[in-house]
Amino acid sequence: MIDVLYFAWVRERIGLPREKVETGAATVADLIDELRGREDRYAAAFADISALRVALDQELSSFDAPLSGVREVAFFPPMTGG
């Protein structure tokens, strides 16, 4: 079980801020493929990966990073702080 978090328009498209996901995905990209297959709202949120960022256990990471040992995955658009 992995905690999956969504922020900003990713959260809005998927319609929830976080959920627990039972997955055997080896990498972030594999997890995205699984989520995309679920429902249209996931397919819409993950349509363009280049518009997304991912953090693993609260550290920015990449889509080909392995998920082994990871407890929290977050998906969000590029950050706009400051």
Binding site: F7, A8, W9, R11, A55, Q58, F76, M79, T80, G82
Partner: protein, 146 residues
């Protein structure tokens, strides 16, 4: 070094006074304040979302890196989240150093990293509804100079 991530309004001037009073031996203090622009009256406000937990960690990491790169006496980062009105302060960075070059460089470094590497997302709320602010290529570009 102080990092505050908060919904509460703050007064940048009062923060600068307190920060300056606390630095020992510094000759230079630089502050940056980000304000909600009113875009000619068309913007009714802003809503900032963040990633509790990661935000604080990410900012602390940036401050650590600034301290490692420049000779600083102190540094301060305040960043708000939640609803904000036009004219209100969004965030503030202050740096104190023996010399002005270090204070300026560290403040600009922190700003560039806060823009693109701290997990905040701005949504502008106007007459026509809300719109997520798009990240600018120029902000990502700005990181390359460090």
């Amino acid at each position: 070094m102080r990092v505050a991530v908060q919904p509460a309004l703050f007064d940048p001037g009062a923060e600068l006074t307190a920060f300056t009073a606390g630095v020992r031996g510094a000759g230079a203090v630089v502050s940056f304040t980000g304000l909600v622009r009113d875009e000619g009256g068309s913007l009714s406000g802003m809503e900032i979302e963040h990633y509790p937990g990661m935000t604080e960690k990410a900012i602390a990491g940036m401050v650590e890196e600034a301290v490692a790169r420049w000779t600083l006496s102190d540094a301060l980062v305040i960043h708000r989240y939640g609803p904000l009105k036009p004219g209100e302060a969004i965030m503030m960075v202050a740096t104190a150093a023996p010399h002005r070059g270090d204070a300026f460089a560290a403040a600009e470094f922190l700003m560039d990293y806060l823009k693109s590497r701290a997990p905040f997302w701005k949504k502008e709320t106007g007459a026509g509804g809300g719109a997520w602010v798009a990240a600018k290529d120029a902000d990502e570009e700005a990181l390359k100079r460090w």
